[in-house]
Every structure is written in structure tokens, then in C-alpha cells.
Symmetry: C2
């Protein structure tokens, strides 16, 4: 950010106050994240219309947050009893409420009445653009989508999707917040349907459904294929970097020169199944039979270990690069 | 395999003899794999029409194989001087020659003349079906595609793609070989264009190219998105397992009930770029500018660490599951 930055800066220290609205899975996971990263746990406020909010949080949050790994404690969280008291002092107001445009439009118009002039307004939505959410606001410049990859207390990616009205300084401050907390905030330049991560994942999922539907492999085999190949590969180097490496000296261009024909043949032969297209029953059955109820805690524990290795290596790489 | 298995078994011990034909990148990587896993290094034979093969291997193989991590040494490899002497004693004959149907058809017809009756015949092709390769053979039952995810001395996945003529016992023995060596061999039930892994990866790549082409994100941002989200996620749990978990108690069915609308909207909005469609210049430029020449050794070192964590955890999981 330039020195003549006109906006107030979000204080990235113990004075920072964050308010979360909504306490579903995503809201609680963000609560766990903030609780682990804030310098003083009393900086975190939670608001929801849910009855008995305090006891709900005490019982539901521990599956996301272990006080063993933090000096903070769930009991330090401030539970707000009205929207006004929840937001009026906050530097960051982050909503993870229902995926419902009417709800979000009304919420932001209401929040706007009480919030500090420079508060950052973040929505966790996975699909409702900021420009739609801001329709009833007087000033639309502070709102943007801050979309996590679930669960946000573990996964590094944060998609920042501003509307055309969002002030560039608001985007920069949001990026700075997440970067300073070790996350990977990526600025999505257009309000694209489904943003980027889900579009990519769903493109692969569509082909996966097609191949299982055609009997080429079953659900468990398809997962084993991804776990044994592009999963670990893309954890280390994304698709462009991987194929750029695959082309050797000539990079991505050589890659396409070598096997562009196969790539195009695969694209032309790709499946175009639709939701509700009749493949569901058999594939849902295979997933139930193969996995039953997935132990998400176990998955998250292994994911943390993988991410720890990647963080360590990235840090090493950065240290080497910054050597004089 | 059943007790009344009529076929000879490949000896998974120090009597096993493997012959590799072809010494390009894939051939050398397989050589490194076998050298690390065979009980006696003299079991490995390499054949190629390349001049000065022996000195070529001595100079090119060390980038794939370090004798520090093995009791074997590159000098133990037997270099064959004719196809006949290369294949006549081998239990496994694995070709990684040029991606050229005429070459492979002729090779297998020739190999068939000299090979043991029960030798397994494997092709590393990434796209030419076994049924096409076998066209000039008298007995087509021993040949199948054994397609690695590059580089095979590191990545776990092996796609086994038999032709309709391949003997089921040959497939089973091939599976047994790779499983006993800690790999993930998956039987692809139909000779599908591009097999499975590449089809999946290319489906995502197509959407990635579309999004960069539309200016939604750039090449480096797109890679960072994948590295911070589905890469590590799918390394731990493939797409079906992940979305089945994402649906909570209701599994994959609940996942589609909750966000099937968004999935379908993404599918309908998906890009359909083609190879040669005019996006190349800018995207190749971004890849060059962002990555220059990728340090593949570094990527492979980090990938090994990630795979080591995953193997450890899988072993732990298996031990727990098999507890009485």
C-alpha cells in the first residue's frame, strides 16, 4: 500500500476487533481461526439470532478449536445480544449467514447503520456476488466476498471477490490481513459464477462423474487415482507450473506442442453430465458404501500435517530466494 | 488371485527379471524405480537402439536415481545389445519407446517371438491403446498399458489399461507387482481416450485456461489457488470422498441437495477453449515470466516429503482398521 493511502488501516495488533455474524459450520470454523490468531481473545465478538447462543458456541466450537494449541479460550469470546452492539466497534465484520440474497441484502443495509466508517465488511458466501448483496446499501465500497476453502481454520486459500464498487484500498487491507495471518488471499478480478476454486474443482468433478457413470472406474478407484497423482502434485505445484515443468526447457509451450493433440482429444471426448441427469443414485450409493461417514477429524489432522510440510518448504524457499 | 490360477506367477523375489525397452525420461524414471526396489540389481536389463547406450545411461540415470538411497548401483544394470537377448529371459518386459503406433506394433510382434510364454508385456504409453498396439501379435493376451503419472520413480499412481484381449490373470499379476512395491495400480475397465488421470487433470486445466484467458486471475494466481485448496485436499481425500464428507451425515447426496444448483451453474458457465484457440501466446508468456525454468529436483524433493506423510498416515489407518 502506498504512503499516501487515504483509508484508515485495520490495526493488525491487539487493538483489532473482529465481529462474526452467523454460527453455522463456516462461521464456527472462522471463529476457530480468529481465536487462534488474535493477540487477545477478547477481540472476538460473535452474533447470531440463534437462541441460547452462548451455550451453543460452548458446545459446538470445540470441534473446530482446541484451547490446547492456543492461549485463547472459548469463554473469552464476547457474545453480542444485538446487531448494533455486535458491529459498532468492529474493524472487521464478517458474515457467514444463510446463502440467501434477501437475508444478506437486509443484513448489510442494517450493519451499515451502526458500523465504523472504515470497517471492512466481508461475506463468506460461496456464490452470491458482493454487488448483489450491496444493492440496499448507501455506500457499497466496503463490502467484498471473502470466500474460504472449507474448513477455513485449516485450508490456506481465501478468495477475495470484490464488486465493481469495492474500494481498492479495502481489497488491499483485506489481503494484508490474510497474508499477515499466513493465509493465501487471491484477488478474483471478476464476479464470476462460483468464483475460481469451485469452478476448477467442479470441472474435474464433472469428468469424474462421467467416468464412473460410464463404468470406466468406480468411486473409490477414481479417488485413489486423484490421491495418487494430481492431488499431491498440485499440492506442491499448481497445474500451470506442473505442465510448464512437464515441457522441460520449452515450458508450457513445449508441453502443448508435445501432447496438445491428446489434450484436445480428451477435451472433445469429455463428459457433459448434468445435475439431475440420472447418474445420482448409483454414484451416491457407491460413495455411501465406500466411505460411510467420513472421519473429518482424521482428514483434517492429516491435511494439517501435509500443509505443515508445504509451509516449511515454502519458508525455506523464500529464505533462499532472499539471500543476497 | 484364486488357488486354481492357471497362469505362471511372476516371482516377486530376487529371481525376478525385468527388461526395459526405451530410455527417454519415462524409461529412465522406471529404471530408477526398479533399481530401488529389486532385491538384486542384476535383475534389471535395459535395451534401446540409442548409440553408446551404456555411457548414456551412466550419465543420464543419476538425475533419477541416487545410489545413496539404495544398495544397487547403476553399473549393475545389464545392457542388452539385441532385442532377443534383452527379452528372452525376462518375466516383465516394459516398453517406454516413442509414442508412435507403428513403432509399438512392430516392437510387440518382434518381442513376442523371443519372450517367455508367460512374460508380462507392459507399455508406458499415455495414449495408444493396448488393443491397437497388439494388432500384429499372434497372442494378444499378455499385453496391457501400464501408464504412470510422471515421474514414476516418485508418484504412486499406475493406470492399468488392458485391451479386451488381455487375460484377467495378467492384469492381476500386474496389480500384485505394483501393490507389493507400494504403488497404487488402478484397473481402468475401458480403453478410454487419455485413460483417467489425464482426462481429469485436463478437464480442470481447460477451465483454468478459460479463467486466465478471461482475466479473472493470472497464471500464478490460479496455481496458488489450487496449491492452497484442492491440491492438499485431494492429496488426502479424492473428490468424491471430499464432497461426500462435505455433505455431512447425508453424504454426497446431501452435498448435491445443498449446492447442486451452484455446481450446475458452474458447469453451464464453464469455458470450452480449444488447443490452438488463440489463448496460447499470453498464457505461455505468463508461465515463462512467472516460473522461468522450474527446478524439478526441488519439486520432486517436496513431493517425496508430502507422499511420505501420506504413506505414514495410510499405514497408521490400516493398522487401526485391522485391529481385532
Amino acid at each position: 500500500m502506498s504512503d499516501d493511502d487515504p483509508g484508515l488501516r485495520v490495526p493488525l495488533n491487539k487493538d483489532l476487533r473482529i465481529t462474526l455474524i452467523g454460527t453455522g459450520t463456516i462461521g464456527l470454523s472462522f471463529a476457530a481461526f480468529h481465536l487462534s490468531h488474535l493477540l487477545s481473545p477478547s477481540q472476538l465478538t460473535i452474533y447470531d439470532v440463534r437462541p441460547n447462543l452462548s451455550s451453543y458456541i460452548s458446545s459446538a466450537l470445540p470441534q473446530f478449536f482446541s484451547s490446547k494449541s492456543s492461549t485463547a479460550s472459548i469463554s473469552d469470546i464476547r457474545i453480542a445480544t444485538s446487531l448494533q452492539s455486535a458491529v459498532q466497534d468492529a474493524h472487521i465484520i464478517q458474515e457467514s449467514g444463510p446463502e440467501n440474497l434477501a437475508f444478506k441484502k437486509e443484513l448489510w443495509a442494517e450493519v451499515e447503520k451502526y458500523a465504523l466508517e472504515d470497517a471492512l465488511l466481508w461475506s463468506s458466501t460461496s456464490g452470491i456476488p458482493a454487488s448483489a448483496q450491496a444493492q440496499s446499501m448507501i455506500s457499497k465500497s466496503r463490502l467484498l466476498v471473502v470466500h474460504p476453502y472449507n474448513p477455513p481454520h485449516i485450508m490456506p486459500l481465501i478468495e477475495l471477490v470484490p464488486s465493481p464498487h469495492t474500494d481498492p484500498h479495502i481489497i488491499l487491507q483485506t489481503q494484508e490481513f490474510w497474508e499477515s495471518h499466513g493465509r493465501v488471499p487471491i484477488h478474483i478480478k471478476k464476479e464470476t459464477t462460483g468464483f475460481v476454486a469451485n469452478r476448477l474443482a467442479f470441472a474435474l468433478l464433472r469428468e469424474a462423474i462421467h467416468l464412473v457413470n460410464e463404468g470406466v472406474v468406480n468411486v473409490g478407484e477414481l479417488d485413489a487415482i486423484v490421491e495418487g497423482s494430481m492431488g499431491p502434485r498440485w499440492a506442491v505445484a499448481g497445474p500451470f507450473k506442473s505442465y510448464h515443468a512437464g515441457g522441460g526447457e520449452g515450458g508450457l509451450e513445449a508441453f502443448f506442442r508435445n501432447i496438445g493433440g491428446t489434450v484436445q482429444a480428451c477435451w472433445e471426448d469429455a463428459g457433459r453430465v448434468d445435475v439431475g441427469g440420472g447418474w445420482e443414485e448409483e454414484i451416491f450409493r457407491q460413495a455411501r458404501e465406500r466411505y460411510g461417514k467420513v472421519d473429518v477429524g482424521e482428514r483434517d489432522r492429516v491435511t494439517r500435517r501435509v500443509l505443515e510440510v508445504l509451509r516449511e518448504e515454502k519458508k525455506k524457499g523464500n529464505e533462499q530466494t532472499s539471500d543476497p
